[in-house]
Amino acid sequence: MSEDEPVSDGGTASEPVPKTETVETEEEHPLEWDEPDNNDLAPEERSSVSKRPEKQDDRKLVTGDATFTADQARRFPQLVHAKVLRSEIPNGRVVDIDTTDAEAMDGVHAVLTPDSPTVPDGKYTSAGQSYPEPSPWDMQVLTDRVRYVGDPIAAVAAEDTETAAAAVEAIDVDYEEYDYVLDPEVAFSEDAPQLFGDDDVENKIVGHDYSRNRMSHIEGRLGDVEEAYDREDVHVHETSWETIRQSHANVEPHTTIAYTDEDDRQVLITSTQVPNHTRRQLAHLFDIPIRDIRVKKPRVGGGFGGKQAMVVEPIPLALTLATDRPVMYEATREEEFYAMRSRHPMQVRARSAVTEDGTIEALELYALSNTGAYGSHGMTVAGNVGAKPLPLYSKVPRIHFEADIVHTNVPQTGAMRGYGAPQGTLALEGHLDEVARDLDLDPIEIRQDHYMEIGDLDEIAGMMGGEGAERRIRSCGLDECVKRGKEAIGWDDIDQPEADHLHRGIGVALSAQGTGVAGDELGAAQIMMNEDGSFHLQVGGVDIGTGADTAFVQIAAEELGCDERAIIPKTSDTDNTPFDYGAYASSTTYISGRAVKKAASDARDRILEWASRMLEEPVDALETESGEVYSTVSGDSVTFEEIGYESVYGDETREHILGKGSFSTEESPPPFAAQFADVTVDERTGEFEVNKLVVAVDCGVAINPGMAEGQIEGANHMGYEMAVTEGITVDEDGHVEVESYDDYGFRTASESPPIESILVETHEPTGPFGAKSVAEVPTNTVPPALSNAIREAVGVRITEMPITAEKIRTKLDDTTT
């Protein structure tokens, strides 16, 4: 199933859809891709791509000149501040709410409750996905039916945050408390407290069964796995794994400033990954025409999926409509942990049938996902537990994947870097390691015998998406990733520590991701030439700190044949930049980047036309380089600046040189990662030290290798956190126990292992200048690699994250007694 494909149904439960026998023709998925001549450049032919020009926004960021949302508050002298009253109980109903005291306080401008006129009463999802969202419409901006500790009940706008907080404190709430359920297995049973009645949800998702708190059930199969299990020549292994509730922990909290402009339109300056989706969702929710809403993204202090959601924007908008004042809402750090979003914690089972000689005949994953109180990204994330990791082993003939997504009375989850792939990768890569050990096979060889190679028609990624969802593999650097990763970690030659109680081991894990959502993406760009030969590049694509603006500029500079400094990027403002789905699913460089390339190519055509006129030479004799057009015949040249002036101020004819490009695709080529973890374990205590993490990544051509390395290292650090920390924990009353970074167990600089990133270049013909995605795939691999390393070092297997000294010691004790 593709990540964001609408699969709402009419209320019927899902049926497994057996794959129909279709003969895919070469025409539908040709190996030879018809790419533009200039798309495949040898390193020496490149002027900007795969170079390391400065990141566009770095100088303003290192000097403090850059502005994030909260930094723009000073522009609004009339600004008031929002605070939110949130539920103190995990399940129940607000039977009485008294706002009298709060409203009477000096400095309070508005106190809103679910019934207030400017508060929408419709159902929606906060998931920032395409339309109609493949997430259920099950939540409200403010609610009197609360389903977790943190559900928003009332909102206040006041002169300052202290007053707003005091007003929130002054609101009296009486609850009727219901029984609640925190454990997804219990929630899924017949007699558990039920979070939703059938009438409570619109846009229901495939496989829902609210009588059992099931938001969705999905299933996909390729071949008949049961047939393989019945065979006598196979070994059947089954393993179970558990992942943490990880926080995005973006250092800039979710922040929005909402105001009404002089044209009576609603403007939101907001820390979002999805400006266009947010505009549409606000329009639907508030019944305001799309044309009357403007969403602007300033610099964003990290997203990681946490801002691929309309988490806070409706509240300041409702307050600005009520007060006629600009309103800023900035989540507290505590709210970030208990009331924003997190990674879906899951239990994942893996099962396989493998012959004695190591041929995998069947492979299967089942996931039980705890989506929390609401269903944002619930089905699509769970779908990717199978749809991202399993295709890596495209040679396996029988595949089955199934997932149940279940509600509990804990904070709702959402999109997070990796989007289901980390949960699936832990199970799959840990499982294969166990199989290899049990059958005395080389853990790398069993993978290599089954993993993708160029030319494969991958049917697994599309096995839940119906006909035509298959994809051809046209770039694959897995062999090289494995080879270089092994060398860097010292796979073949590790020294054991001298002390007898210390044991060293190396673990390996591989991973594949996608590049954008196949068939459900759109990016667009426009480029305008100035007289001096510079360009304004307008892109809807969203830079949330990744360097996307820089990648856009490099792609445009390469295409146009000019210096990066001649290009001024303007991005992510729904009034002034073309449409874009936003920064998610590892799509930005590939989708928005291709749109930029098309726009630049379009502009270049016009530049050549003008140069042809000025040089009196045919267009096909002309080339661009370093901001000039030159003739390959005469050697004569004209600068972009001369063309810029002539095109705008020429005597005979005039034209503003503009280029535009819009791009969507059915393709989603996988990037690959080979992860290695080197660990030393103390068998007396179970304490372990990660000596080094090495990760080699095939992201096609890295548009900017410096930025790509940064993505890889950051992703590995986040993966390390998934392996060794508790994440967001919830106590037995349904209260989140993590209130601060200190509680969260964030791994600081001196607590983090050295991370070595290796870029393995391949050429992806469908990508801009050969690029595919990079930022998600290295998130997936550290937990299984570390679990495998510990297994190698001391022989015990930790399947339930986080890996702790205590768990290792307990297992060691079990094996010795």
Binding site: E54, K55, D58, R59, K60, L61, V62, T63, G64, D65, F68, T100, D101, A102, A104, M105, D106, G107, V108, E159, D160, E162, T163, A165, A166, E169, A170, H248, A249, N250, V251, E252, R299, G301, G302, F304, R333, E334, I544, G545, T546, N704, G706, M707, G710, Q711, E713, A715, H717, M718, Y720, S740, Y741, D742, T748, A749, S750, S752, I755, S757
Partner: protein, 179 residues
């Protein structure tokens, strides 16, 4: 102090204005300071390179130098800083004339979202003033008060180690007269 509104025992909502004189980046400035922490006062005065990423004292994003020592401004009462020399990121280099530490962060791609970076750079400045040739372990220890979600610390650590050389070279080249 004004009278609290009815029903609010918690906090007064309007206060008489109090001001404090601070020396910020070498310039004498008067900031509003009633009950506020230094981060709020500095941000209100336009020094928005001082960031706030937590509910106080944990993320390091508000780090400034107070008489050369790194302090999280969000955890310091404005009044406490009266008379001290405060340096914010705005007082280091400018975009066309970066301080060598800022330059090293740019050259090493140590900046992603950049929210935590002003704090890290000021921390590095204090570290290098005290320890001009730190080891990697010392650099990592110095960054322990700074939450960076983007980089995994690899590139910021490399940038600071390189910045140590740049600062040392700059001092030789300009008779010790650099910033």
């Amino acid at each position: 102090m004004s009278v609290p509104g009815p029903g609010t025992a918690v906090r007064p909502t309007f206060r008489t204005t109090m001001t404090t004189k601070l020396t910020i980046n070498g310039t004498q400035t008067t900031v509003e300071s009633a009950d506020t922490d230094l981060a709020t006062a500095l941000r209100s005065a336009g020094y928005t390179g001082v960031k706030c990423g937590c509910d106080g004292g944990e993320c390091g994003a508000s780090t400034v130098l107070v008489d050369g020592a790194p302090e999280m401004a969000c955890g310091m009462a404005t009044r406490e800083a009266a008379g001290a020399n405060i340096q914010t990121i705005e007082g280091l280099g400018s975009q066309d004339d970066l301080h060598p530490i800022q330059e090293a962060f740019v050259d090493h791609f140590a900046v992603q979202c950049g929210f935590c970076i002003p704090g890290m750079i000021l921390e590095a400045k204090a570290l290098l003033a005290e320890n001009p040739d730190p080891t990697e372990t010392e650099v990592r220890k110095a960054l322990d008060d700074h939450i960076c979600r983007c980089t995994g610390y690899t590139k910021p650590v490399a940038a600071i180690l390189d910045a140590a050389d740049r600062v040392a070279n700059r001092q030789v080249a300009t008779d010790g007269g650099t910033r």
